[in-house]
Each structure stands twice: as C-alpha cells, then as structure tokens.
Symmetry: C2
C-alpha cells in the first residue's frame, strides 16, 4: 500500500474506532451512570418514529438480537431512563418510551454529533466539501451493497 492507501485504511479502521472513544470522553460528565452502548440505545429509542419503538424494530436498528436488547432495556428501565408499554392493539408487542433523563442525555449526544460534523465541514475547504460528500456517498453505497449481498 502506498501513502494515500495507508491513509484510507487508517481512516476507515482507526478513526472511527477512536471517535467512539473521543465521544465517550466528551460526554463523560453528561451521561452519568450510562455506558456508550446505553447512550446509543437511548438514541435509537428517542429517534424511533411512532410505532417503530418496538423491541424487534429497535433491535434491528441496533443490530443486536431481541434477547440482547431485552437485557439492555431492562437495565435502562431500572435506571429510570425508559419505560415499556405493552401495545394495546397487539399484546405481543412492547413499546419503549424515553423518559426525561433520556431526552436530556440525547440532547447532549446530538450536540456532540453536530460539533463533530461541524469539525469536518469547517476543516475541509468549501469547494472541496462537495467532492468529499460525493466520495463518501459512493463509499457508503459500495459497502452497503456489499453487505446486503
């Protein structure tokens, strides 16, 4: 691999990994007794549209089994971040709803992401930003086509 290729590899592999750590460090004071994993579960709960906040849908969004999510949500419920509600129309379904502490955490979490994106857009010259976006689109599409196959 040449220099540019090593750069691409490093970004693809390490940057994203390290961003998670930076995120954790940045949010440390805001998330209290939550792990980053729990923060991202809260993110999914807050972001879910009406009727899309069932265990099965959330688990698919988060790419874990429903069993794993049950364990996680049980903890978050105990900690007072979410509540569960049996669906009235289909009593097999469980809807997960955020409580105020979850909304508060998600506010900080969203703010971090906004700052992160701002960091990119402010770092790359405007005339080059279009090319970057286009490239990222292409890369994103490529890998997601791969994954589906």
């Amino acid at each position: 691999m040449n220099h540019s290729e090593i750069m691409i590899d490093r970004v693809l592999v390490h940057l994203f990994n390290d961003l998670l750590r930076i995120e954790e460090k940045t949010l440390q004071k805001k998330i209290g007794d939550l792990s980053m994993r729990e923060v991202h579960i809260i993110e999914a709960v807050c972001a879910s549209q009406k009727e899309d906040n069932t265990m099965t849908v959330l688990a698919a969004t988060l790419r874990v089994t429903v069993g794993s999510l049950t364990v996680a949500i049980k903890t978050l419920e105990r900690k007072g971040y979410v509540i569960r509600q049996r669906s009235q129309s289909d009593k097999r379904r469980v809807h997960v709803l955020p409580l105020p502490p979850a909304l508060e955490v998600e506010k900080h979490h969203r703010a971090f992401h906004a700052r992160m994106v701002e960091a990119v857009t402010s770092t790359v010259p405007p005339q080059e930003l279009d090319v970057l976006i286009k490239s990222l689109h292409a890369i994103y599409d490529y890998f997601y086509d791969q994954e589906e196959a």
Copy 2:
C-alpha cells in the same frame, strides 16, 4: 443537520461499526477459532517492530490495559498463535512473537484491508481521489489534535 451533514455523521459513526461486521463475515472461514478482537491483537503482534513487541507497548497500541492484554495473550498462547519470551536484557519485559498460524491469519487479514482500500480507490473517480485523500488527512489530523488536548 442538512442532507450532506447527515451523510457525514452517518459515515463517521456507522460505517466503522459496519465495516467491522463485514470484516468479520468476510474472514469468518479463515480465522478458525479466533474472534475479531484476537485477529487484531495478532495484527499488532505481527506489525510490531523489533523490541516493540512487549506487553506494555502492545497494550498501548491496542489501547487496552496491560492486564487485559495479559488475559488475551494467554488465550492466544494456549491456542498456539503466539509465544512469550522473557527479555534477556531486562527480565521484567515480555516479548510476544507470532507463530506460523498467526502469520497465516494476518495474511488474510491484510488482504481484506487491501481489498477494502481498493474498493474505495476504484469507487471514487481518479481526479476526485486527491481531494478525498486531502480531506481525510485534514479530518484525521483534526481529531487527533483534539484527542491529545
């Protein structure tokens, strides 16, 4: 966040996690009884320069505590992928050396990364690749300056 910003966020956050899954799926048949975590430990062991293969240095590279690495290396040693050698010059130090099975795994692992980079370079038009590389450099530098602060 507008459309482009959402794209940046998505790439920065999700692509990494998904790449790790794609990597795992791709290498599945090659890595036998190893987890991806173990593959990346083997990568660090194989990539370490002479005298940089001690527990402390490897742990720093992998961003885990030395205690964690001890546990992991112990397993890899039992599985026959690495061996440990006490340093002669400094008997506190332990050098970790790859055995043939580790070299074999690392070969497949490196090949995957090469294909991944190839995917990017072949997806993005040549004239736009320069801009992409330059942008990635800027982004990379930005976040790593952040982290040190």
